[in-house]
């Protein structure tokens, strides 16, 4: 539609924008890290980081906030990718934070370590003196993300304060800060879930097998399917059965639900997404806790 021979297809334009952000942040901040969860967004972000600095190595470490409740596939994939990219991996453990008494483990049926991650993350930021953490957050995910900046300012307590956020004009990102403050930087801000999958397909990027349909032991709760696992407590009337499922988001086992699906390859996944009647975050129990669940966690220093 553009009246010029010099146009990029939209995925290349998005890629270019993300690479610009990654290079900009890596240049203005003194010590960055990439928050790696093992999910598709952080995998795409890793791929973009590789491209942004090639032929040099990625000039920052990856940081994994480990709740201890991971799918085996996620950890295996993480270790494989880190080896391929030759980056340094730092694992910060929620288990350690619990042992030290920094946080108290939740109890009960829906207990999750998800919100405890914020404390572990802030400890890791302080101990490693990071002033920039790249996150895979996208604006299409949730209403608290729709207003997120690309360079998102956090005070010395790791808090996101709407009032402290700076107007972001054109491509001119302001990373100036005081000692002790840090930034979350979101290179994928303008990508949608479908863009991520189209890019994964276009670039033939590997993702954990959890994203594709497979047979798994699951049980039902509140109309959703959860993986049967030792870290998820089941009630007496919750029975385990084998079903063909896939995961739309991959997080901590305790708060990520599966969907029944036969989409066992990328084309089928993309096709399924186009006809899905639910949003991606609808599969995250952590967001269902209240209307402002994600916003509340962000203010406490969440990703």
């Amino acid at each position: 539609m553009l009246n010029s021979p010099y146009t990029l297809d939209y995925l290349t334009a998005l890629e270019s924008e993300s690479i610009h952000i990654l290079r900009e942040a890596a240049s203005v901040f003194s010590k960055s890290c990439l928050l790696f969860s093992g999910g598709k967004d952080s995998i795409v972000m890793s791929h973009l980081a590789y491209r942004a600095f090639w032929p040099a190595k990625i000039p920052f470490s990856f940081l994994h906030i480990d709740t201890g409740h991971n799918f085996d596939e996620t950890i295996a994939f993480r270790d494989y990718l880190v080896g391929e990219l030759q980056v340094n991996l730092i694992v910060a453990s929620v288990e350690e934070s619990i042992k030290r008494g920094d946080v108290i483990e939740e109890s009960g049926v829906n207990a999750s370590r998800n919100s405890l991650q914020s404390i572990t993350l802030m400890t890791a930021i302080r101990e490693n003196a990071f002033d920039c953490c790249f996150g895979g957050g996208r604006r299409d995910e949730e209403k608290a993300r729709a207003k997120e900046r690309v360079f998102s300012h956090r005070d010395a307590f790791g808090q996101w304060k709407p009032k402290n956020q700076r107007p972001e004009l054109w491509k001119l990102l302001n990373g100036n800060k005081k000692f002790g403050e840090n930034f979350r930087v979101f290179p994928l801000s303008n990508w949608t879930e479908l863009d991520i999958w189209n890019y994964i397909a276009k670039e033939k990027i590997e993702v954990p097998s959890l994203y594709y349909a497979h047979k798994r032991d699951v049980f039902q709760r509140d109309g959703s399917l959860y993986a049967a696992h030792e870290c998820v407590k089941r009630l007496d009337d919750e029975f385990v059965e084998k079903r063909e499922v896939r995961f739309r988001t991959i997080g901590d086992i305790t708060c990520t639900s599966a969907v029944e699906s036969s989409a066992d390859n990328i084309e089928k996944v993309i096709n399924e997404l186009k006809h899905s009647s639910h949003s991606e975050r609808g599969f995250r129990m952590d967001d269902k806790r209240s209307d402002s669940a994600l916003e509340d966690r962000k203010r406490q220093g969440y990703f």
Partner: protein, 417 residues
């Protein structure tokens, strides 16, 4: 996979107006009627559980923090797509802090949609919105005359608004302006063309946005490549790699081209252009690439690779229009950091030439203080020269931001004149 989806281009457009004009309802309508909302989102819009009535305006509801503190975080970004295009809707709240919100939102857009309430006609704020859209260099404007269902002599009301607004617009410089009568509440002329407004012969808003023939903002004439980062790597056998990473801001760079390096004024040639692992023959905006040059030069972040036949202006003294975004007053002693492309320099305001009254478009030469939302013309002195173009001819190298050196806040948006 549908190749059509991959090829579809993207339109980022701003929707400007206040709650009263029906902005939230319009955005809700666009999403609902294009089937962009999924079941769990629709459920959250029901006025009551299991009710069939939806409150579409609820889609753009603020965050808890905004509701509690009575503030508006400036801009929200929302996404939808149709068979023809992908859209990013940049939702700019129009009331308090309106100019700041608009300038921020519109700086990311190639088109703007302004709402006018048909029952109230053109108001001062409508003129402000149009003026800022023009100042920001947006080439496509759609004026939605909303709530047309609530007025009696519909066609006359619409024509009157259109004529009055066109007269006002003649003082501005937006080449493409379209008027659409609409009822966002009833969905008339939002996604589907309405049967009820049969006297109107044009298209619906969505049809218009889908088919908008974009006058590209990209400048493919003046070659500007600000160095973002120097990339060094040691090859196993070959010479060490030294490349310059950045985004092409304008112009087209080709392998072998003679280039001029700023500020050193050295001349050399481009050896290779890399788009990550691949080499490409040419690079244009907005491509992010790495260039290698013939010979060894001191070139670092903030420097610029250009062409000798049309270099940018190299200036320490800048003549700027500035939209002020902050409450704090400043004087000649106040030190700012200007961020322009990948370069930052210290600067101070030498003179406030005038303030623009954006209702009358008249210059007010006696300026006691510059306040938030003011549009002022400033003479600024920089510690180091910047490599600039006029904003009118090159947005990417004609735009800059003012950063308060004490608070680090972004306090001004500048346009090089």
């Amino acid at each position: 996979m549908e190749t059509r989806q991959l090829q579809a281009d993207q339109l980022r457009f701003a929707v400007i107006g206040s709650v009263d004009d029906g902005k939230s309802t319009l955005i809700g309508r666009l999403f609902y009627d294009t089937h962009s909302l999924v079941q769990d989102q629709i459920e959250s819009l029901r006025t009551e559980k299991n009710s069939s009535e939806l409150n579409l305006a609820h889609l753009t509801d603020g965050l808890k923090d905004e509701r509690e503190q009575g503030i508006t975080i400036d801009v929200a970004y929302r996404f939808f797509s149709t068979e023809k295009r992908k859209f990013i809707v940049v939702d700019c709240p129009g009331h308090i802090e309106y100019t700041r919100n608009m300038v921020t939102g519109v700086s990311h857009c190639n088109a703007a949609v302004i709402l006018i309430d048909a029952t109230r006609g053109i108001r001062t704020q409508t003129k402000r919105h149009a003026f800022i859209t023009s100042l920001m260099g947006v080439k496509h404007l759609v004026v939605c005359v909303n709530k047309i269902d609530l007025v009696s002599d519909k066609e006359k009301v619409f024509e009157d608004i259109k004529n009055n607004f066109t007269t006002f617009m003649s003082q501005l410089s937006i080449p493409d302006v379209t008027f659409i009568p609409m009822s966002a509440l009833n969905g008339d002329n939002v996604v589907e063309k309405s049967e009820r407004i049969s006297w109107y012969k044009g298209t619906s808003l969505l049809q218009h946005l889908e088919n908008l023939f974009l006058v590209t903002d990209d400048n493919h004439k003046d070659c500007r490549f600000p160095v973002q980062r120097v990339i060094r790597a040691n090859g196993a056998s070959k010479e060490p790699f030294r490349g310059y990473a950045g985004s092409v801001e304008s112009g087209v760079f080709k392998k072998g081209d003679e280039v001029l390096l700023l500020p050193s004024q050295f001349k050399t040639h481009i050896s290779e252009i890399f788009q990550y692992q691949n080499t490409v023959e040419e690079a244009f905006t907005p491509m992010s690439v790495v260039m290698t040059l013939e010979g060894d030069f001191e070139l670092s972040r903030g420097d610029m690779i250009v062409k000798q036949n049309n270099p940018p202006q190299i200036a320490k003294e800048l003549d700027l229009m500035v939209c002020w975004l902050n409450q704090k007053a400043f004087n000649q002693e106040t030190r700012f950091i200007l961020k322009h492309t990948t370069k930052e320099t210290q600067a101070y305001v030498e003179e406030v030439l005038y303030k623009l009254n954006i209702e009358t478009l008249k210059k007010e030469e006696e300026v006691r203080s510059v306040e938030m939302n003011d549009i002022v013309r400033l003479k600024v002195q920089c510690a180091e020269p910047l490599f600039v173009d006029k904003y009118k001819t090159n947005k990417n190298t004609g735009a800059l931001i003012f950063i308060d050196s004490k608070t680090n806040e972004t306090v001004g948006a500048g346009f090089v004149l």
